[in-house]
Each structure stands twice: as C-alpha cells, then as structure tokens.
C-alpha cells in the first residue's frame, strides 16, 4: 500500500487526536538493564486484571540514565507525570494510587533539574514516542520533512542544507551539504548512501539511543539524502553489539515499506529507494569511512588512502555518501522547518545542537542534547549536577580514543568544532567523560593507547608499530622506570604517528597522550622524577599498608604475596615489609575487608 501525502497527514491527525490514557516505560538497552522489563510486564498484567482503559507502551531513552527505570503516566484529565527510579514496589504503588486512584505519588517524581539548558531536537522523540510504531512517528511530524523535500529539486535540497550549516556529527565536522553536493554532481548509474552506526568509541552511546528511540528519523534522513544525491539504495551499518537497535531499525524498514515510504514510487513522486541493514563485527577501525566500505563489501575492514574520497569512489567504486546516525537524524527537521530554523541555534561556525553522552565522575550521567556553543562548565555543573561525591574536577575528555583531555582551567570553552580542536581535542561523536582528582592522567593516556593498540588494523606501519611503542613508554612511565628523556621520545613518536598514519584512527591515536602531556606535564614528571602517582592509580608507585583496625587476620594477603613480603600470623595479624614489596597489588585486590590501603 503506497500512501500519498494526504493519507500520511490523515494518519498524523488521527494520532494527534488520540487522547487515550497511557503509561510509557523507557525501554532502551539502559532502561532494560535497570529493570524496565519487569516494570513493563507488571503493568501489562495489572492493566489486564483491573480492566482499566489504559495503554501500556514502550518508548526509547529520555537520556536520564542515572535515574532509570523511568515511567511516564498520562491519565486523561490529569497532567502527565514522570516517575524515576521505579522499582517493582514503586510501580505497584503508582498503579494503585495514580492509575486507579488518580492521585499523583510524590515519592518517585523525576527531578527536572538539569533539563533547562538542554534543547531537544535530535532526541525530540526519544523517550516520547513508541519507536516500534510508525504511526507514532508520523503523529509527531514524522515524514513531513520527506514530503516537503520530495516536492523540491535536489539542488534546492543541497541549498537548504547549506543554509542550515549542518556539519557531520561523527567526529570530523565536515559540512554535510558539501558531501552531498560532491556525490550529486557526479553522474553515475548507481550511487549509495550509508548510515554509519558503528559507534565504537568507548563511553559513547548517542547513536544507540537514537536508533533505539527514534529509528524512523534516521530512515527519513536517509531517504531525503538518497533523493538529493540520486541514490536508489542505502545501507545502515550498525554494530552487532547493539541487537535492540538492529531489531528496531529492521522493524522500521518493514513499516516504511508497508506505507510506501521505502520501495518504488515513494509518496507517488516517482522516486525509488531502498534500505538494507549490514552488521559490524567489532572493529573500531570500521568507523573510518573507507574501512566501513570495505566491511560492507564483506572484506577485512582495512582503510585505504584518500583521495579518491568515497563521494567519488566509494562502495563498489560507486559515488557514496557516508553520514553518521546523529547527522541523519537531524535531516528531517531541517526540511520540515527550514534551514534558517536549524541555524538559529549554535555558534557562528557550528550550528544546531549536539548530543553528548555525559558519563564518568558526574552526578547526573546520561544522554544530553545542548545547543552548540554552550560551555563545558554549564554542561558539567548545570546539567550534570557537578562531580560525584563533590570531589574536585580535574578534566573532561571528549572524542574518546581520538580526542583529548581538556583540563579544568578551560571549562569556560564553548563547545564547538573549532574551539575543541584548538585545545587539542575533538568534538568526536559525543562521548564526554568527567574525571576527578582520583584519576591519573598517565593511566588515562595508557588506557586509550591500549585501546588503539588493540584496534589498530595493522595495515600501515606508523600506526601498527607507533601505537605499540607509545604504549610501552606509557607503561614504563606508570611503573616509575622512565627517564625525562623517555617523555621526549614519547612526544616525538606521537607527532610522527599523527603525521604518517594512513587513516583517521592512527592519525588521532596520539591525541589523548599529547593532550595529557601538554596540560598535565607536571604529573608525568612526578611519575618519572619522584616515582609518585598523586591520584593513587599507578599500582607500582604506591606503598601498601595493612590497617590493623580493619584487618580480620584472615591471612589471605599472606598467602597471595608472591615475594613473601607479608609476615605475621592469625593471632597477631600481619604486616607488609615495603622493602621486600614489589607493589604488584595482589594483596590489595585479594583483601575482602578493605583492610589494605595504598598511598
């Protein structure tokens, strides 16, 4: 059944006028992990038993991960209420009092703090609509952008995109209109558009939440893109580690087919376009566009030199546009509301909003969406509620293994592509990790470098060998075996790899190390000169002591010590001889009573 514009609008009106009472349960991966399934099952059962006229629905993630599971109750005649940290006891109470008794339960009300500085454009539907219902999406202005876009010529679409100033949300920040324009201007029998959903950056899950919470928005963005560049086929490349996202996007594709929003003669405009899902298989390098293309072609995910860029020679050597999930999710609203509307938010060079996964040592961790140009200070303190346990903030890491560490003195930096780049970091896909005084910067650099060593594909020598050598130096420093000379050598390798590596992964791999070297040089020197780790993270630089008061004299540490540095017996207790101790930390890890301290 191919629907036309009128029929879509008819569905929209029908959904909007639907005023039944409903209860929505946030059921993205994070919600389910926090116990949302149990809540959902209970509600289905309870509604059936009590025969009330209430619909129980699933929805995506509203972003407040720190207070999951989240339930929204909308009873006719009452204001909608959102409850947080809902466990089974809570939901019983809520069902009893609110759903049946029409009285709000005040104990579990969500605290709205931190939402005032956020602007939800990409996440507008996440946690609001049922991601498994196309009607729900249409009801919240879904596919209106496509309707408008298909009425205009491809050049006008590019023009609108140019006015909007949208730039790639995957990391680099390349203007989207330029990418599309390159591909559009090449005449070829076949062209492709690819959605890059290979979110491999540890500590980031924006794309997962969008795919799980609003899959149709990504689909709609791809259809518009396909029309603009003249592609008839698109691929969604999604991590296999995100099964729920894959399931929902597949369902969305089926639904769009049923409505004729994919397939032949879309919206009766004579445009044919289809989509296919391809799975990633756990290789970080496949986030790089040429490697991703190789992976879709069924090969090893090796990157290749550019140019030629994918917009000239991409998938199966055909012109190909690759956009990130968030970029594509931005597209529908641009065509529904106009390029100027989109550009009304943001800073001069970076328009619109950006979704971040705010995590680490922050009170309110979760998914946030803010206008570009907002400062880090506002994000961490006003939205995130400050540092966990009121400790002192040390730095914020953006861009994951490709990004850098921004020290606390630059918290007033506006969040846009250029400002972050000037500080030696990148916007990246949106991971934002808050670190406090207990985090050691050498340790962090080592963590990211190990990641890059594991993920280096091995094709080019600078990355394959360089990352390994950098890791060796970092290990040496963290063990207190390095000299100042080693720090210099480390820096040299960083610069060399940055210049010589073949692809983005290698070129950016030194960033976390370089930025910590730049801003926390003192800390590196302490490791080298004083053999000290001020954060107490580098095990080899600490001394271990048994606290007699907490010690239960069990003897576990005594038995585990590989060099017999612990002496004593079960009656008198134990003591560590720091002259014999090799600082392996085994006793510390073994003790069940936290009776061993290290400083």
């Amino acid at each position: 059944m191919n629907l036309d514009t009128n029929q879509i609008n008819h569905i929209r009106k029908k959904v909007l006028s639907n005023k039944v009472s409903c209860i929505k349960v946030g059921m993205a991966t994070c919600g389910i992990a926090a116990g949302a399934q149990e809540i959902y099952d209970f509600l289905i059962e309870a509604v059936k038993k009590s025969k009330v006229d209430v619909e129980v629905r699933k929805c995506g993630c509203i972003g407040a991960c720190y207070i999951e599971p989240i339930v929204e109750v909308k009873i006719q005649g009452l204001k909608p209420v959102t409850y947080s940290k809902v466990d089974i006891e809570a939901i019983k109470k809520i069902f009893e009092k609110h759903v049946l008794g029409k009285k709000v339960v005040t104990d579990y009300l969500i605290d709205e703090e931190g939402s005032s500085k956020q602007v939800r454009r990409v996440l507008r539907n996440c946690g609001i609509i049922d991601p498994e219902s196309i009607d729900d999406y249409i009801g919240s202005d879904g596919y209106q952008g496509l309707i408008k876009a298909l009425k205009s010529k491809p050049e006008d679409i590019i023009e609108t995109l140019k006015i909007s100033g949208l730039r790639g949300r995957g990391g680099g920040g390349f203007p989207t209109w330029m990418k599309w324009n390159f591909a559009k201007n090449i005449s070829a029998e076949e062209k492709y558009i690819i959605c890059n959903g290979d979110e491999g950056d540890p500590g980031a899950y924006m794309d997962r939440s969008i795919l799980e919470g609003d899959p149709h928005a990504v689909l709609e963005g791809m259809v518009i893109g396909g029309y603009a560049i003249g592609a008839r086929k698109g691929f969604l490349y999604i991590r296999a580690e995100y099964p729920l996202a894959v399931e929902r996007i597949q369902k969305a594709i089926e639904q769009a087919h049923d409505y004729g929003l994919l397939g032949d003669n879309i919206l009766d405009k004579g445009f044919n376009f289809d989509l296919e899902v391809r799975l990633g298989a756990g290789a970080f390098v496949c986030g790089e566009e040429t490697a991703l293309i190789a992976s879709i072609e069924g090969k090893r995910g090796y990157p290749r030199p550019r140019p030629p860029y994918p917009s000239v020679k991409g998938l199966w050597d055909k012109p190909t546009v690759i956009n990130n999930v968030e970029t594509l999710a931005n597209i529908p609203a641009i065509f529904d509301k106009g390029g100027k509307w989109f550009a009304s938010l943001g800073s001069p060079q970076s328009k619109g909003t950006k979704v971040f996964a705010l995590t680490g040592k922050v009170k309110r961790s979760g998914l946030i969406e803010v206008p570009m140009g907002i400062t880090l200070q506002e994000v961490v303190f006003d939205i995130g509620g400050g540092v966990l346990n009121d400790k002192k903030i040390k730095a914020v890491q953006t861009g994951g293994p490709s990004g850098g560490v921004i020290p606390a003195q630059f918290l007033d930096t506006p969040l846009d592509y250029e400002s972050l780049q000037n500080l030696g970091s990148i916007m990246g896909s949106g991971g934002m990790i808050v670190m406090d005084e207990d985090d050691c910067m050498v340790d962090i650099a080592k963590f990211y470098m190990r990641f890059c060593v594991d993920e280096s594909c091995g094709k080019c020598a600078p990355c394959r060998i360089g990352t390994y050598q950098m890791l060796e130096y970092l290990k040496k420093i963290s063990r207190g075996q390095a000299t100042e000379d080693d720090i210099e050598k480390l820096q040299d390798i960083c610069v060399a790899v940055q210049k010589a590596a073949l692809c983005g992964l290698g070129q950016t791999a030194p960033n976390p190390t370089l930025s910590t070297l730049k801003y926390f040089n003192q800390e590196y020197l302490e490791h080298v000169k004083d053999r000290k780790c001020r954060a107490g993270k580098c095990a080899r630089l600490l001394t271990y002591h048994i606290i007699p008061k907490t010690c239960k004299k069990c003897g576990a540490c005594f038995h585990v010590c590989p060099v017999k540095a612990i002496s004593g017996n079960k009656n008198e207790g134990y003591i560590i001889d720091n002259n014999k101790c090799i600082r392996c930390g085994k006793c510390y890890d073994t003790c069940r009573f936290n009776a061993i301290e290290r400083k």
């Binding site: 994070c30 540890p202 799975l279 990790i433």
Partner: protein, 159 residues
C-alpha cells in the same frame, strides 16, 4: 557438531545462508548467521561455506580473524562480557575483572574448565550511565561492586 552427520550439516547451512546467496558483500552477514546458530564458527562450517560460496577458505578465515566479534572456539554456556569502556574503567571495572578472574579461576577470553562460563572483556556496552556493567548472555547488570560478583556467578551456576 561431531554427532551431526555431514549431509545434515550441508543442508542446514544451505538453508541458513539462503537469504544471503548471490548478494554482493554477503560474507560478513553469512558469518553472523552462522555464529547466531552455533555460538561460534566451527571449522567444519567454514569448509562447507567454501564450497557453497565458491570462495577460498583463506577468504573466510581472513575475515573471521579480523573481527573481534567472530569466535573460532565454542564459548561457554554463559558468556560474561565485562565492559571496559572509559566510564566503566574509571568507575572500577578493573577491580570487577580481578574479582571475576578469581571467582571463575580463568583469564580473559577463557572458558571455565566445566564449560559453563566464558569470560570476555568488551569495549563498550553503551550503558555508561550504569557503569561499571557486565552482560551475561545478553542480560545487563549495572552499578556493580566487586563484592556482588560471587553471588551473581553462584546464581547462574545454579541454573
């Protein structure tokens, strides 16, 4: 695998990959299908694929060994995936890993002697708000403390 006779395997694999036959770039999707079915990619199946798809065995193995997701050995009944993403790392995942190694008496990427548990360290499960997290056969457990591990494992061992 051993008990299944050869003809059966051939037919089974033929059916499994039918959907992807003749589609360009299908190898990775076919391997996903196989792994979904068997939990890993048995050598015997790779031999069959070589014939069915008419490609060299080396082509199949170069892809399997490149991607972390594909396994060549049969994993345990329960796969424990401990997240080592940045947020989990900062919030104590290394201590959880130590505890898991101790309780299970295995190293990373190893299966317990009784074949029940397989311990692996993964990149990011995308549940950073609940860090540190681990996943056992698709079910996610969040906000873990080292002292929770023993009970959790015992609970699964009893099943």
């Amino acid at each position: 695998m051993k008990n299944e006779n050869k003809v059966n395997t051939e037919v089974k694999i033929k059916n499994l990959i039918e959907k992807w036959r003749g589609i360009e770039g299908n190898l990775i999707m076919i391997l996903h299908t196989i792994q979904n079915e068997y939990g890993y990619i048995p050598r015997q199946v790779s031999f069959e694929l070589q014939k069915l798809l008419d490609i060299p065995l080396a082509r199949i193995y170069e892809v399997i060994t490149f991607y972390n997701y594909f396994k060549l050995d049969k994993p345990g009944k329960y796969i424990i995936s401990l997240c080592m993403g940045t947020a989990c790392y900062l919030k104590g995942a290394p201590r959880i890993l130590n505890e898991l190694k101790k309780v299970l008496d295995v190293e990373e990427s190893e299966t317990t002697a009784d074949g029940i548990f397989h311990l692996e360290v993964v990149r990011c499960l995308g549940c950073c708000g609940l860090a540190p997290v681990l996943m056992i056969n698709g079910k996610v457990f969040g906000k873990l403390k080292p002292e929770d591990i023993k009970a959790l494992i015992e609970d699964y061992r009893k099943r």
